[in-house]
Amino acid sequence: MTDDDDFLTDAFRRQLGGLVTPEAIRAIERGSDATELWRSLDESGFADAMLPESAGGAGLGLAQAFPLILAAGEYCVPAPFAETMVARAMLGEQGVAPPSGAAILLAPASAVLPGAGLASHALVDRDGVPTLVAIQVSGDDLFRLRCATAIEQGEVLGLLAPDADRLMLSAAAVTSALMAGAMGRVLEMSLRHAGERQQFGRSLGKFQAIQQQLAVLAEQVLSAQVAARNAFVGTTFELARVAAAKCRANEAASHVCNIAHAIHGAIGATEEFDLQLYTRRLKLCQLAFGSESYWGARLGHARIASGLDLTSDFLRLRLGAEMN
């Protein structure tokens, strides 16, 4: 990361801080019109950040885009912002121009599609061809988060080069980074609550049992964040990196949600508390774009197929912070 990248991320965070308040998130969850929020986000230009400068973007590579997606996760953005940023880059790279202002979902086969109810378009898989279509939701909003179990595909607006896996890898990578950001915020909220809440005459955070739980929470968050960051190395999303990231994000999310809610007590699950905004999203994301078993199996097969004698070589060559 250079200073310029930090500057960009800081600017994005400031923008999110103003736009994506917990009240705004709740209103949209309850079904309010999200057009205004999306327009503001889109006009800020961040969703074009991965397009080349010649196309009005900032030419961000994966590693530079990662902090923006992490921030979107931290702020619980109720819009397919990160998905659109990545989709626009995929489309732009192949000369396909999406409709102006389109909020684009990455929609490979998945039990559930987060944010489907907030998207106008989607990249879907049609026999191995990522295809840009207009969409309408048709399935259930299982989590009351404007997600959907199915979408109705409308007009075809563009085709990408055939690639049976790219859409799935992109969706899982983006989701891992969003989850990593959300989990970071959950840790922050849990630490704050443990510092404020008094029980038996002292703050929760003074109890050794709670300290040990918070230590495990921090471990899980950091591990998931490092794994997600490593999915954003190089020029394209690669199987091993993405598999490790989504596998880790899904595993970590279970620990993180359980511990955070244990520390918050029942109040953490109430509508008025922000914690549930994050943990319900994490659960939704666990169900989307492949579970830990799905990605674990793909990573395990990749480990064996690598033909490498040593797992340490596999970690270094296929999963490290640098490209080999």
């Binding site: 921090a218 950091l222 794994a227 078993s293 395990g300």
Partner: protein, 385 residues
């Protein structure tokens, strides 16, 4: 936030360190040819003085020690590459392990010029092996409660009395660096502790191996009965022992040895699974690999921080707690996978390796600080205590 992704900045292994890798791999291939996996599984608990001497002949003990003191004058990244390859292959590094990882850097940093001149070259050439005297009977995880004392001797120097326990390979080591009390009492906790360089051949030193349930005798009791230490046995500053020990622990907890202890088992199992493996076994393998991947990155990141003179104490605690967890999970997962098919004959070497690690993996979390202590340190890093 006190602990974020910024605590583990992405670190790239510099080319000079990577350049070492092929040579190390070739050395290991030659030296470990024919060594079965269940022997390799001992890794940094495997003691082989000849192997250590061969390493020294290559200049691979004390690689981070300056050339003036007999080292290779390389940096922490070079040591990372070297150690990563040795551990991944299950090389028997125990003889020189402590001297290389802890004692030599400690003496370089805190030792007198005389100590450096007399000791460091002999660590680097594989002549002297070291052990660490920290734990004591009844002290357990409460290291600051140590009671072994060094008092000023009337004619100069020190008189050492007390006992250390769980001292790995003390019976095969030449020197111990011990944390002992030089003033006050146990009530004074971290104050009044000092580190000493103890020649284990001195009169009054008795080393008695402790046999554990597996029949292994890596650990020892070490007794000190009025051992006379010369003036220059003190390492660093009198009373500064606690601080010196903690600086050492960041090195002790941040290395790849905290994630690779069960790796030869994992690799043998992966090889036996082969291309036609079922989704369930592949998922088991993949989930372990996914947990290891960010840990290796953290270890590289901490190497970079240590190389810059940082002391990532909280980070190392977090890494080690998670690392030993995976090291413990690997034998457990493979045991489950193997015994899920009682109808199939398991590979005998896989079973031997598995049995060795299954009998020890539950104690992997104790060495170098227990999970509970580490989690307490993380909590401190999070601002909770």
């Amino acid at each position: 936030m006190p602990l974020t992704l910024e605590n583990f900045p992405p670190a790239v292994m510099p080319p000079h360190a990577e350049a070492l890798r092929a040579e190390v791999k070739a050395f290991i291939r030659e030296k470990l040819a024919g060594v079965p996996t269940h022997i390799r599984a001992r890794t940094w608990a495997g003691f082989d003085a000849d192997f250590s001497k061969a390493m020294a002949a290559r200049g691979w003990i004390g690689v981070t020690i300056p050339r003036d003191y007999g080292g290779a004058g390389l940096d922490a990244f070079a040591r990372f590459v070297l150690v990563e390859e040795l551990l991944a292959a299950g090389a028997p590094v125990a003889a020189h392990w402590i001297g290389d990882r802890q004692s030599a850097p400690l003496l370089l940093h805190y030792g007198t010029e005389e100590q450096r001149r007399s000791i460091l070259p002999r660590i680097c050439n594989g002549e002297l092996f070291f052990c660490i005297g920290m734990s004591e009977p009844n002290s357990g995880s409460d290291l600051a409660s140590v009671r072994t004392r060094a008092d000023r001797a009337p004619g100069g120097g020190w008189t050492l009395k007390g006992q250390k326990i769980w001292t790995t390979y003390a019976h095969k080591s030449h020197y111990m660096i011990a944390l002992v009390r030089t003033s006050g009492t146990s009530e004074d906790r971290q104050n009044g502790l000092s580190q000493f360089l103890i020649d284990l051949s001195l009169p009054g030193v008795t080393v008695r191996p402790i046999m554990i349930g597996t029949g292994d005798t890596d650990f020892n009791d070490v007794f000190f009965e009025d051992v006379h230490l010369s003036e220059d046995a003190l390492v660093g500053i009198e009373g500064n022992g606690w601080k010196q020990v903690n600086a050492e622990l960041a090195f002790e907890r941040s290395g790849p040895e905290r994630i690779y202890s069960s790796l030869v088992l994992l690799d043998l199992w992966a090889r036996l699974l082969g291309d036609a493996t079922d989704a369930e076994s592949a998922a088991r393998l993949g989930r372990i690999v996914a947990r290891l991947a960010p840990l290796r990155e953290m270890s590289v990141a901490m190497t970079a921080l240590l190389a810059k003179g940082g002391s990532p104490i909280t980070e190392a605690a977090l890494f080690k707690d998670m690392g030993t967890e995976v090291e413990q999970q690997i034998p457990a997962e493979i045991a489950d996978a193997v015994a899920a098919r009682p109808d199939l004959a398991a590979d005998p070497e896989l079973l031997r390796t598995l049995a060795y690690l299954m009998q020890l993996n539950h104690v992997f979390s104790l060495r170098g600080g227990t999970r509970e202590i580490l989690r307490g340190m993380i909590a401190r890093g999070l601002g909770l205590r």
